[in-house]
Amino acid sequence: MADNPLSPHLQVYQPQLTSVLSITHRATGVFLSFGTVLLLFWLLAAAAGPATYETAQRILSWPVSILAMMGWSFALFYHLCNGVRHLFWDAGMGFELSAAYRSGYTVVGVSFVLTSITWLYVFLFGGSS
């Protein structure tokens, strides 16, 4: 096992958009894995009954929880959009350097827009539902 080929050490490379987006895909993936705990927490609280659910809702409305959920939603949209970008590559499309940069900027832009729309919706209509 020790003789397996290793991934290149990231710090020997000059960061560029394509490599930064690539490592961000992995980072958001790991972050999202931990974020699933939040979703489980909410559902398990609902399964436990009304009192536990109330407590969970209170915890989830803390500013730090909102901040965590904002980060989680951005990570989700980024991983989703960049994942679609990867699937296009798997299908053999968009390999040219210019196309890779264009799709890269698009992924970052769309992720920010979707995160903004999501939280604008929450802050405008969240309390009334």
């Binding site: 397996n4 894995s33 398990l44 659910y53 109330e54 969240g126």
Partner: protein, 127 residues
């Protein structure tokens, strides 16, 4: 090709079949997660700050229960496959690597069971 070459060393750890299966399963779960995740986000937005009764009745509807179960199975499997690659790439100490890989496997299975269990509890317990 010599049997002690680098390729055979990789093969001794992961067979070619496993590697291909990992690759295709990661893509298949990714494709399945596109609609599932969009459904989850839109659903959570509609349930944000909702009272207990409305959340319970929403989860209890058969379509939502099934979608949640499918989501948990596919999502945690996708997470397991992805985390496995990251761990294999960045943890270079054999013992730590095996331990973390095992932990990840159990944690993702536990996550899926907890999610499915919670949704079924709500769904079956609802009047």
């Amino acid at each position: 090709m010599s049997s002690s070459g680098p390729l055979s060393k990789i093969m001794s750890f992961v067979t070619a079949g496993e590697a291909v299966q990992h690759w295709s399963h990661q893509r298949l779960t990714a494709i399945a997660l596109i609609p599932l995740v969009l459904w989850l986000v839109i659903s959570l937005l509609s349930q944000f700050a909702a009272p207990y009764e409305s959340v319970v009745s929403w989860i209890s509807s058969p379509v939502v229960t099934v979608l949640f179960i499918v989501l948990f199975v596919v999502m945690f499997y996708h997470a397991k496959l992805g985390l496995q690659v990251v761990i294999e790439d960045y943890i270079h100490t054999d013992k730590t690597k095996v331990a973390v890989l095992l932990f990840t496997k159990f944690a993702t299975i536990a996550g899926a069971i907890a999610g499915v269990g919670a949704v079924l509890t709500i769904s079956l317990g609802a009047p």
